[in-house]
């Protein structure tokens, strides 16, 4: 049963991802990204990683995706916005995609995966263990991620403020 569900959700994810890349309309691309993200969330559920699945929904769907759509809505209308990449953009995209694929393939073959399913006993997530993992074993990556987000936030505030000041001086 899990295999069937896996193939359903994997197809959804891959179809969504292909849709994002091939779609010319940026909002439709965002909706297909939603499908891909939901598919990945469902796969986490199948792996009995409920907490991760919920995090996936909150951060990527509830946060990032809404911000993307929000940004698009504020900047452009659908009819005038057809995505047409230039040649340099195409080359850059191919190079970065191949590089990412190489890294991922190496990572997949190097990694040592343990199969864990919903029927595995003890597949629960006590909050205490999560907290200890985040602020104990994985403190450095956790803090680095926070630092990155802080830097992004300051940068965004700076950019927004500069533009507002420009407007005032005109």
């Amino acid at each position: 049963m899990e295999a069937i569900l896996f193939y359903i959700f994997a197809t959804l994810t891959v179809a969504g991802a292909i849709g994002v890349v091939t779609s010319r309309n940026i909002v439709r691309a965002a909706v297909q990204l939603l499908l891909a993200l939901l598919g990945v969330g469902a796969l986490y559920f199948l792996l009995a990683a409920e907490f991760l699945a919920a995090v996936q929904l909150v951060i990527y769907v509830g946060g990032t995706l809404i911000l993307i759509i929000f940004g698009v809505m504020l900047t452009a209308r659908a009819s005038s916005q057809k995505l047409q990449p230039s040649r340099t953009e195409r080359i850059a995209a191919i190079v970065s995609a191949v590089a990412l694929l190489a890294v991922l393939v190496v990572a997949i073959f190097e990694a040592n995966f343990h199969m864990r399913t919903a029927s595995t006993p003890g597949a629960t997530y006590p909050v205490r263990a999560l907290g200890q993992a985040l602020l104990g074993d994985y403190l450095l990556p956790f803090e680095l991620a926070s630092l990155l987000l802080l830097a992004v936030m300051i940068g965004a505030a700076y950019l927004a403020k500069k533009r507002a000041a420009d407007k005032d001086s005109q």
Binding site: V27, A54, L57, V58, V61, G62, M73
Partner: protein, 427 residues
């Protein structure tokens, strides 16, 4: 009067869960999936439609009461079948789509708005045995996470309609929801700090044994977090006074201006079910889940053996379910009461209230709750005194509310006699 029918909803949710009790854990996975689908179809799908059905009727009745008019009273006894009549009307309406709309997204948006709310229903523990198995160990987080997907449906509806009113509604919804999700999540975190679990079933079990054990009376910070959560949940559900995405006086109908027929009704169904889900979360997180204020249900439930299915086990689950539904209905009633009483603020005031009032408040509550859990030991004198003080405050508030209602009732009877004898035709 308004909640006389919450029992219907309860019976409905119960029907699905009873199937589960009878079916148990069958070894064959096809049978298991069959049962699961049966429960989803006959329990939860029916629950979702009945919540919408009763919710919309109740909203109009409450609105009528508050505005001193009758509300729906033509279709069925006390207008009960009004939602049915509306449903037939909506189903037979022409399905319109603006010419400039983005067809594919326009059609997808209502489903994207409703499906997440429905998925959130599945995690609610309605009674000691009434939970969709296997229960999610991060159920609380799951409900909040999946509810945040609903917004995408609303935003897409506004955007794909190709209409200025709609897109304003969508933009308002986006910025309002992104802001209010933060205090909403933080106020839940206050409870998680106090209890150390995200499991809704475990949270309900923790609070068994009467009102003294309810988390809202557990520590003062959780009690305040309840208020923050309530306000933030109004905004997250775009309920008035935070209904700026559809504020009819300025945006026609906001994000669903261009929708008609069944697609429009899906948005309504999503709204009322989201109200129910939020109320259910509040009932589980703060108000003791399915247990009654005197702890009678949990004591009864603890006595029954769970080795095999018995009539008593069904009975205790039915009673627990009604208690749960009563609590959720009361919170829904307060949401309606607020809607028809308070005026709507401007969008900048809404964001100001969130980012400069609720957000700092919830951060302080989170720190306070953590410090409290570190310093005050379980079962100490300080904890017990706090509980009694909080229960006392609640009792005084409820008493005052009762007195006010009594006074309003007494005065209302007089004034109704003067004003009434409404013409039989004009309702």
């Amino acid at each position: 009067m308004v909640f006389a029918l919450f029992a219907t909803v309860s019976a409905d949710a119960g029907a699905g869960a009873v199937l589960r009790l009878i079916a148990g854990d069958h070894p064959n996975w096809l049978v298991r999936i069959g049962w699961d689908l049966t429960i989803i179809a006959f329990g939860f799908m029916a629950l979702a439609s009945v919540v919408g059905f009763i919710g919309i009727w109740a909203e109009r009745k409450v609105a009528g009461r508050i505005q001193h008019r009758h509300g729906p009273n033509r279709v069925g006894p006390i207008g009960l079948l009004q939602s049915l009549a509306d449903g037939i009307k909506l189903a037979t309406k022409e399905d319109l789509m603006p010419r400039g709309a983005d067809g594919w997204l326009f059609k997808l948006a209502p489903y994207l708005a409703f499906a997440p709310v429905f998925a959130a229903l599945l995690a609610i523990p309605f009674g000691p045995e009434l939970i969709f198995e296997p229960a999610l160990s991060a159920g609380l987080f799951w409900m909040i996470a999946i509810l945040s997907v609903e917004v995408i449906g609303v935003i897409l509806a506004g955007w794909s309609s190709n209409n200025k009113w709609s897109i304003y509604g969508a933009i308002r919804e986006a910025c309002q929801l992104i802001s209010y999700e933060i205090p909403l999540g933080l106020s839940i975190l206050v409870v998680v700090v106090a209890t150390g679990t995200l499991d809704l079933l475990q949270l309900s079990r923790m609070q068994q044994g009467g009102a003294g054990h309810w988390l809202i009376f557990h520590q003062p910070f959780v009690a305040l977090a309840f208020i923050v959560f309530f306000v933030a949940s109004l905004a997250a559900n775009k309920r008035a006074p935070f209904d700026l995405p559809e504020s009819d006086s300025e945006l026609v109908a906001g994000y669903h201006t261009e929708y008609s027929g069944l697609r429009f009704s899906l948005f309504y169904l999503a709204e009322y079910n989201a109200m129910f889900v939020m109320s259910a979360i509040m009932a589980v997180l703060f108000l003791g889940g399915w247990d009654d204020p005197f702890g009678l249900i949990s004591r009864w439930s603890a006595r029954i053996s769970r080795e095999h299915l018995s009539l008593e086990l069904l009975a205790v689950n039915a009673v627990a379910l009604s208690m749960f539904m009563l609590k959720a209905s009361l919170i829904i009633f307060v949401q309606m009461w607020v809607r028809w009483t308070l005026p709507r603020p401007r969008i900048d005031q809404v964001l100001h209230a969130c980012l400069k009032v609720l957000l700092p408040m919830s951060l302080v509550l989170l720190i306070g709750s953590a410090v409290w859990e570190l310093l005050v030991t379980e079962g100490s004198l300080a904890e017990r005194i706090t509980q009694w003080v909080l229960v006392g405050i609640a009792a005084v508030l409820i008493g005052l509310l009762g007195l006010m209602l009594l006074q309003a009732f007494v005065e209302g009877r007089g004034s109704q006699k003067r004003l009434s004898e409404p013409s039989r035709l004009g309702a």
